[in-house]
Assembly symmetry: C2
Homo-oligomer: 377 residues x 2
């Protein structure tokens, strides 16, 4: 069977590495941040804008798309890339996490996750096999195996049972895969127990996946524990396959994880914070609602070259936000995604030139730690 | 005093004419449709997109902007064009209509309109003088005199008193104007009474306005009466000044009004209908919600060259709309505004080549009358 993706490491600096991931829908430079397009759309953005900012791979959600508009429909429309008019690659999460968190009634057993659709209450069963089948219909470039995202906190005994279930599901996922041009990634669990992380990583990496993800983090555990578990998990992942840290994170988290050798990331922070009026800037977090912006004719970030910063003042953005204009969500989302793309591109350059540690220190000293308090409002 | 705007007629075909309006913020080809940007933003659109479609003048609302963010703030930010990052011209409606329709408590007397802000209940008074003052602070290119938009239906005696008040307010507006680089337009009222329309037009056009608008139409009266009153009013307006038919209308209304010699138009239909899932196409109205679009891989309009039609299928647009994605509003608004811009551009070409009547017939036979039922849902 031909390799559905190829991964080449171009340079390394300590554990950090930069490379390229060759998919059926183009080349993705790594480390790569994937904007979250849960329902086949990155909220407030158009695909051509994501492309223009420099993104080449986005994330979508198999559960959401299976519920609406349906995986068969997307298959008939030529796959998710054609359906969206997106010329880059797509990774889909299996949706196990959403089935557990969004569904009104759910139950997990050996077969899979039984739940009722969050839209119409229809009973559904997500199994390792059906998750692969859905993702094959979506024709995404990278599929994720169904896992149980162990909640936090979890007792040791529960966490152990959970990762064993995830391991059995991983094997079933691989057996269910029939597509030759879609990669399948396995997911390491193990909660915050070092021994369990090691055991899960050994189990999952012994299987024939095309790449590996660290899951079950950023689910409520303390930041330092998240970073410690992410680093421990990474140490067990093979060097020659892409490594994906799921659901992470703030700019400082991303740089920390890149330093551990992760290659791929996704997070709702840049897009969700934007819709809540919060911008990431080179000087730290900016809440556009703040009264200090009322008469501020400066852009969000004097050092930013995005269209929002070239076009709009803080004063105008505050007005748009308070008036509830769609353009507020658009402009802030475009800025935040530009900020993330730029940060990752700078990280790649720093790795290539052997200056990654120095680059991280320079970012840390610019007030980026401000982002570690996520704003939910 | 230098002319704040210049208006040149380049060609005429019957009563229809095409020309150009030269403002302090660029040249506007006429006939011109102005997208509605009530609160200094055309809903769901970014200014650069309006420009790329070909728009060079938009409409904003003095009342709304005076309430929030305030006219002084916009003046400090360099005027509404700089505030918005819009490189074209702006016409502002005085907001008398909004003060009457949106405010919770309002009362009209000789002085002006007394009302409470629809946002915070603050008591406000809009007079002919304050409406000019606000619009001068906004630094729009074209100001509208405060008028009483006579409601429909109106008794003859009320309609007569109303237009007399509008005439006295018109004179006060002209006396209040101090800006040398902003045009001021007067507004013809008279409800649906031919004698009153004639009287109002004679009164208003005897004053030194830079252009003239026909107001008080599209406020609930039957379509044929609207067209009859629009045509009658136009017949009294001077040939050498721009003529603006306020709040009109559907594609067929626009072509009818262009045929009467109107030069400028505004209407919420293309933008509001878009947000309600309704698209204007060369084959008539398309409701994107309709189940016939579920598996339709065709664009909204096979004959349309807009980005939406080049990028997205009806199937994807329906999914976006049902999922409540912002991109649905964006894509449909961009399409509808492209449709309007294209229609008006074709009308200009037809006038220039003396084929306007033929052009109108060709549009009418393409199912455009479908648009005459406005969709509100």
């Amino acid at each position: 069977m031909a390799q559905p993706i190829q991964f080449e490491i171009l340079a390394a600096d300590g554990a950090a590495r930069c490379g390229r991931l060759i998919t059926g829908h183009g080349v993705v430079d790594t480390p790569a941040f994937m904007p979250v397009g849960t329902r086949a759309a990155v909220k407030a953005m158009a695909p051509h804008e994501l492309w223009d900012i420099g993104y080449r791979m986005i994330l979508a959600n198999a559960y959401h798309l299976a519920v609406r508009p349906g995986a068969d429909l997307i298959r008939e429309m030529g796959g998710i890339q054609a359906f969206m008019g997106w010329h880059g690659a797509v990774l889909t999460d299996s949706g196990g996490f959403q089935a557990m968190s969004l569904a009104s009634i759910n139950r997990i057993d050996e077969d899979g996750i039984r739940f009722r659709s969050h839209l119409d209450g229809r009973p559904m069963l997500l199994t390792p096999e059906s998750a692969v089948e859905i993702q094959q219909k979506l024709q995404c470039d990278i599929m994720m195996a169904l896992d149980e995202c162990t909640p936090y906190p979890a007792e040791l005994s529960y966490a152990r049972q959970s990762l064993e279930l995830t391991a059995r599901w991983a094997e079933r996922s691989l057996r269910a895969r029939t597509s030759e041009n879609q990669a399948l990634f396995g997911i390491v669990q193990g909660s915050v127990y070092p021994d369990l992380r090691a055991a899960s990583a050994r189990q999952i990496t012994s299987l024939g996946f095309d790449g590996f993800a660290t899951g079950g983090l950023s689910v409520g555990e303390p930041k330092l524990l998240m970073l410690e578990m992410a680093e421990l998990s990474a140490s067990f992942l093979p060097v020659d396959k892409p490594r994906y840290l799921m659901g992470v994170g703030t700019p400082t988290d991303l740089l920390a994880a890149i330093g551990m050798g992760y290659d791929m990331f996704d997070c709702v922070l840049p897009t969700r914070n934007a819709r809540n009026g919060c911008a990431f800037t080179s000087g730290g977090r900016v809440s556009i609602k703040h009264s200090r912006n009322i008469r501020d004719s400066a852009p969000l970030d004097e050092r930013c070259g995005c269209r929002t910063c070239r076009s709009y003042s803080r004063s105008y953005l505050r007005h748009l936000y308070r008036a509830g204009e769609i353009l507020a969500a658009r402009a802030l989302t475009e800025h935040n995604l530009f900020f993330y793309a730029n940060l990752i591109a700078m990280a790649r350059s720093a790795i290539a030139s052997g200056n990654f540690a120095q680059f991280r220190r320079s970012i840390a000293s610019a007030g980026m730690e401000d982002f570690d308090e996520t704003e939910e409002n």
